[in-house]
Symmetry: C2
Subunit: 509 residues, 2 copies
């Protein structure tokens, strides 16, 4: 047993009677916390893996001596010494305020990509994808349990999550063990490359019937999935992709699914739900972070403040050349959206959809990356990783402008009232126009990204009690240049008047 | 007297007693309509022009025999033969549906620019601006009666609209005749270059007190202005720039101003009002067209349909390099906004604000153009002018996609309900993402602009009963290339997958 690593017990016995998904098998793990001295225990459920094999999986999050006791269809017990994690093994990622952290407190900066039907491709294709990911910036992949049926996705997978009954209907009580082993294998291979699986449990682009399972079927499916996968540290639960497009589901059913996951995941992995139109209710306590589909990048700071949870623009359109509105960003624009998200302290996910005569588009099938954004995302990631902490929104002070004539006599709140009085559906363009994109790490780093604004000069106010060096960053050319040193307080740096420029102040010590 | 040209009668007499702005002088012009045979007459007011000179101005819109009779402080009469206009003299511009037309029915395609304080600069500067305008694409200039006080605008003008009283307050009853002659001169010089004056009657950026005149003062000012300028054919009334920032004015007062102008302008020049936050109420019958400040370009078709009036994005940010959010568009983005506006049948106005050590920024002072958008706007204008008619929104039919799996079983109106259920302040990004930008001229021309979308292929449905040649347009490179001929019905043209591409189908005969 190793801290932060999946531990597995295996038992052999007769085929389960009745459901092969929901079986009577529990295990209790008991240990003494090395940190607090407290006696602790955790109950997990076992699962059937076919071929007379039963398994119990457990994720130890502390080093020390563990006792375990299996009950139900097996009655066994034992003990294990759990070795402390190596320094590089940082544990499971959870949310803390607006940031993500490994168990050891190290920040995790998600840099996502989307390969929806990764597990449903042939091995050759999966292997190529894994190879591509080795040199890509991505440390989180959104991918689905169920296969995808959509344009450019017409290949049936070899394996499905369930077997069919004699009437040809999915039998959720008979998991397809080979499928689950295969899915796990994909998750493990990603994990071995340092990549989290943001696993999508439901989605609407379906021809097989997985999107219209009954709630009873859903519970059985989720029960099996959680017994089997919850002990994998590198996993996040995305309840759905575009949950609101699943017309057969009511909101109450979504809440039930959410609560079922929260109640049956002993480790409380990260949990969110991805929208097409309206966001899921991220204020719900089980929801650990905001997973949004929107192009409203200028609202990142507003939503971070509103929800006080990490925010990922998991879908903000994809780099590519499709006719569809969501699939034809330039490489610059994809990188631009990453900068817009990350500077105030949110995150983004990449996707890539270039027309391909073999229907191999990265966003659902992986393969090779063709776009120009990944290189720029790597550049951004490098900058974020060298910061002394994680970014949060910077409420920049404005320069007091000299004499504004009679406008300075406008009543207090005059502009706020004008904004509030706008038709709501027109406020966004005002926010987008006037919004600034900036973040800071305490007093140590101040960062502003100007996006498509071609400023020749800007007006900053830095703290007076430090001096700063100022770096100018070109997100497209991927250049960084120190342009000022020893700066503090009010100052007006000169900029090159082009798109894709960021300015970073780093405290000098 | 010439059709469509300002006609002026001049009288000499003693200085007016009391107000020099609102004097007792009317003229009635009577003629027989050549077109309908009907007897017609129009009443106009005269004005005092200082130095014992009184004038009556009249704009004849039909050729023929005119009688005139002056009453009030002068009693005179006479007759004039009004020569028919030369072919190039097309008359006054008015709105007809969503388009602008000269009196002779010729379409006017406004291509605006903004030089707020044009009339308040020194002659050398004005002359240079006129020179610049000779080779620029613009045929409408927004400029102000009152001077502008704002950043980069710190020079006091030589002349103001009124004289001051002995207490140093503006006396609206004592127009500064030299100012008005100067302002007219600017308007006439623009007109001589084929440029309409979109004359801004009020605005908030003021230190002199013109933005806080009493309503009584406003009426006197407007009365004089209308007596004096209304007979100039090349003039439009813009009640204000950013009317909503004039905190001293109530909405009822704006309606009163609007009604005063409508009641006292014998020719019903184009009349609108320009916002900062919320639009003026364009449904009001006096309002001839929608003058908007917004970056919500994707809503052009929606607003054209809603208001059924011409729509001008008179402010959608400016090309330049200022720190302010509204003043740092790239040349591409300024041209991009023009295309977004014009393709569905709306219009846009340009502005340019490059930092300049002498504080000469085009948007308020004119001078020289430095940006890269005017050349692209000329290119666009050339395409619009060669069309066989004016564009209107094209409700493109969508390709029926093949089998969409279970998604095809979604209830009718499912997507509409999801959209309607979104938080209103988030609908815009959805509209922006999914919005298409396309227009047509009957069955003769179909035009789609892809903006920042880098499509490698698109899906069109053209009529089946014509064939079309397809031109690909690169708005930045300013190239046009015929890429297909003999096309009809459903077809999927290949595109280069870059920003700034438009596709135009022109019926082959």
């Amino acid at each position: 047993m190793k801290q932060y690593q999946l531990f597995e017990l295996e038992f052999h016995g007769a085929e389960p009677e009745g459901s092969r998904a929901v079986i009577d098998m529990e295990a209790v793990f008991t240990w003494k916390s090395a940190r607090t001295g407290e006696q602790k225990s955790k109950k997990v459920k076992g699962f059937y893996d076919g071929n007379h094999v039963y398994k119990v999986r457990f994720l130890p999050e502390e080093a020390g001596e563990y006792q375990w006791q299996v009950t139900g269809c097996f009655r066994e017990e034992g003990c294990e010494n759990c070795e402390p994690a190596k320094e590089y093994d940082k544990g499971i990622i959870r949310a803390n305020g607006i940031r993500f952290e490994y168990s050891d407190g190290t920040a995790f900066l998600p840099v996502g990509t989307t390969i929806y039907a990764l597990a449903h491709q042939e091995e050759k294709q999966i292997a190529q994808t894994m190879e591509t990911l080795k040199t890509a910036p991505f440390n989180k992949v959104r991918h689905c349990v169920f296969p995808k049926y959509y344009e450019y996705n017409h290949n049936d997978p070899r394996l499905y999550a369930f077997e069919k009954d004699t009437d040809g209907n999915w039998d959720v009580n008979r998991p397809c063990f080979e499928f689950w082993k295969h899915l796990e294998n994909v998750i493990f291979r990603l994990a071995a490359q340092g990549i989290q699986s943001d696993l999508i449990l439901f989605h609407p682009y379906d021809k097989w019937g997985f999107s219209i399972l009954s709630m009873e079927q859903c519970r059985i499916y989720l029960d099996y999935l959680l017994r089997r996968l919850a002990a994998i540290p590198e996993i996040w639960w995305s309840m759905a992709n575009e949950f609101d497009l699943m017309y057969a589901r009511t909101m109450d059913e979504w809440y039930e699914i959410e609560e079922f996951i929260a109640a049956n995941d002993p480790y409380h992995h990260l949990l969110s739900n991805h929208n097409c139109f309206s966001f899921y209710d991220f204020t719900r306590p089980n929801i650990t972070h905001c997973c949004v589909q929107t192009t409203q990048l200028e609202s990142a700071a507003m939503w971070l403040e509103k929800y006080q949870k990490p925010l990922i623009y998991d879908e903000c359109c994809y780099e590519g050349n499709l006719p569809m509105s969501w699939g034809n960003l330039s490489g610059f624009e994809m990188a631009n959206k990453f900068w817009q998200a990350c500077v105030p302290g949110a995150y983004a996910s990449h996707g890539e959809v270039f027309l391909d005569e073999n229907e191999v588009l990265w966003w659902s099938k992986g393969g090779m990356l063709k776009g120009s954004s990944p290189e720029r995302i790597t550049f951004l990631k490098g900058i974020l990783e060298e910061l002394p902490g994680t970014l949060e929104p910077w409420k920049q002070k404005q320069w007091e402008l000299p004499d504004q004539g009679l406008m300075s006599k406008a009543p207090e709140d005059f502009f706020k009232k004008l904004y509030d009085g706008m038709p709501k559906e027109q406020q966004e363009s005002m926010r987008e126009k006037d919004g600034i994109c900036c973040g800071h790490v305490g007093d140590q780093v101040f960062l502003e990204y100007f996006g498509r604004r071609c400023c020749g000069m800007v007006r900053w106010i830095l703290p007076e009690d430090h001096t700063y060096r100022i770096e100018m960053i070109d997100i497209w050319e991927m250049t960084r240049k120190v342009v000022y040193r020893g700066v503090k307080g009010k100052f007006a740096p000169v900029l090159p008047g082009k798109e894709g420029i960021a300015l970073m102040a780093v405290a000098e010590f």
